[in-house]
């Protein structure tokens, strides 16, 4: 009887966070389960039930995430532990999973008949706290069909290795750059005038931290689920290798962008396109108009999903601008669209596209990291040299460049504030290695996923053979060594680590 066992494990895991949060999750599950049934059975009121369900889920998120209700409730029940998270664990994730379920019911999918199966689907412990957002006809189906016989040592080993990789990314890689990013942003928030080099070090560090932290956590979830015999959807696919912003969104937080695409973007685009076709002056641009409107609403909601502050909303809108810019650029190039993996592009063109995309996304992440617009502007100003472009003293002397002349708006400075506790050399090595990993190495999906078809060049095939991944991951002495080193992250996990996406 696997489903009850897994449900019990998930309940136990979730209760560990707080009984109050578990009660909230339970109520959400019960409400959504019954509304799902209603949507399926009803003929006249399908739409109304769907709206009610969406309203309730969004209401849950708004209420428990964006107001002080939780701290009030905590005081009421006598929990004064200041280390408790202030919002129910995973509420954004499990609410979205369930909204997806309601949408699917509306579109005629078969409902989940048993409450116990539905409860396990929503509260499944690897994915409930930080995603990926899952679908009922995929993960739900797998959970229903799971049997004890399906446990085998291969899945357990591969799952554990993926879990180790994820842990390693999180507690070793992400944490190593977190310190650097924190030091720079602390200075920015304190209105210290940092130069362009310091600003970029901070911005790039944060971009790397965010990626390793979140993708590491997704790997942990997927690896854990593999050990149980469940395949969760991949959430990341080397996002910083994206050649344009649209490609980026196919590689970053894939489960969320798929969700937004399926349930927000396409319906809005579709609705507008259809309606616009019957309005004379809009019909010619109905497709483009639908796309623009859909993108705008989607990215606005995406920003809002992360937080109800101005910075998150602006971050969403920042991406809207980037996406529009990309589309108009393509249109002006008069070619019917640029493929992201086009073999016709030269290596230089691909790498400069990647660089441009990485830089744009890094600028956007500044809004993610700062808590108010002022700090973000300070950071951007520093990044474009508003407080001075960094230049080494030796270089300046050689070329007769005047430094520290604040007479000009954009001047040169060699001033390096003592905001870093590590040496500049250590920071440079750290960033260089991580950028190497992000731009050149295969990602965890490419290494561990046996069913994923990853195209390989001949050179890469040789490396793949050495690392025994040419036909999918296989254990070998090389991997024994690598994984043994990575067990360092198993123990380090014990310390309280910064979990960026834990508060969503």
């Amino acid at each position: 009887m696997l489903v009850p066992t897994l449900l019990a494990a998930s309940v136990f895991f979730y209760l560990y966070s707080s009984i109050l949060f578990a009660a909230i999750l339970a109520s959400s599950i019960l409400i959504n389960f019954s509304i799902g049934k209603r949507i399926n059975l009803s003929i006249k009121y399908k739409y109304h039930w769907l709206l009610a369900g969406l309203f309730i889920n969004v209401g849950y998120i708004c209420l428990f995430k964006y107001t002080d209700v939780i701290s009030g409730l905590f005081s009421f029940i006598g929990n004064h532990n200041i280390n408790s998270y202030s919002l129910p664990l995973g509420i954004s994730f499990y609410s979205f999973t369930q909204m997806g379920y309601l949408f699917d019911q509306f579109e005629g999918e078969k409902p989940e008949k048993k409450l116990i199966n539905y409860s396990l689907f929503v509260s499944f412990f690897p994915s409930v706290s930080s995603g990926p957002i899952i679908q009922n006809d995929d993960v739900g189906k797998q959970l229903r069909q799971l049997t004890f016989k399906q446990f085998n040592i291969e899945k357990i080993t591969r799952g554990f290795c993926l879990l180790l990789i994820g842990l390693f990314k999180k507690v070793i890689l992400a944490d190593s750059v977190a310190n650097i990013a924190n030091e720079v942003y602390r200075a920015v928030n304190a209105k210290v005038n940092i130069n362009s080099l310091e600003a970029w070090i901070g911005a790039v560090s944060y971009s790397l931290q965010l990626y390793f932290d979140f993708s590491g956590y997704s790997d942990i979830a997927i690896g854990l689920a593999w050990m149980i015999g469940i395949n969760l959807p991949w959430n990341f696919n080397s996002p910083y290798k994206a050649v344009n912003i649209v490609d980026f969104w196919r590689r970053w937080h894939i489960s969320l962008s798929n969700w937004l695409n399926n349930y927000v973007f396409e319906p809005i685009n579709y609705g507008y396109t259809k309606k616009a076709k019957s309005i004379p002056f809009l019909s010619k641009t109905s497709g483009l108009g639908g796309y623009l409107l859909g993108t705008f609403v989607t990215m606005f909601l995406c920003g809002l999903w992360h937080g109800a502050t101005l910075n998150f909303i602006l971050w969403g809108l920042f991406h809207v601008v980037l996406i529009f810019a990309n589309r108009f650029w393509n249109m002006f190039k008069a070619r019917p669209g640029l493929k992201s993996d086009s073999k016709n592009q030269s290596s230089a063109a691909i790498w400069s596209s990647r660089l441009l995309t990485f830089v744009s996304v890094t600028f956007a992440w500044v809004l993610f990291r700062t808590t108010n617009l002022g700090s973000a502007i300070n950071m951007w100003k520093a990044m474009i040299g508003g407080n001075g472009f960094y230049i080494s003293e030796a270089f300046a002397k050689r070329f007769g460049i005047v430094i520290n002349n604040p007479g000009f708006k954009f001047h040169f400075t060699s001033l390096s504030h003592p905001i870093f506790t590590e040496s500049m050399f250590a920071i440079a090595v750290n960033l260089f290695l991580l950028l190497l990993v992000v731009f050149l190495l295969p990602n965890s999906r490419e290494i561990m996923c046996n069913q994923c078809k990853v195209p390989r060049s001949l050179f890469v095939k040789k490396i793949a053979k050495f690392f025994t991944v040419e036909n999918g991951w296989r254990p070998s002495y090389v991997w024994l060594l690598i994984m043994s080193v990575m067990t360092i992250s198993l123990v380090t996990w014990n310390k309280v680590a910064e979990f960026l996406y834990f508060n969503f």
């Binding site: 649209v246 076709k277 639908g290 796309y291 669209g337």
Partner: protein, 81 residues
Amino acid sequence: MISERLKSIIIKELGLEDFVIEQDAKANQIPGWDSLNHISIIVAIEESYGIRLPGREVRKLENIAQLQELINEKLSAKNDI
């Protein structure tokens, strides 16, 4: 078997003139078929055949041939009612 009608709808929506859609063609192999134009292609197909293609089902399609099968399915369902 991808019908000529479907091929012409696609070619018209994307503004392609000389492109030949093979039997095993996939959407991402057709120039210009991406998220920008996907919905307008679907809407054009729906309007031409008078059917409804739910997003959920379109997502599961792997190539144009399967799209044709889906269209046929919806057509026969419509004619049965």
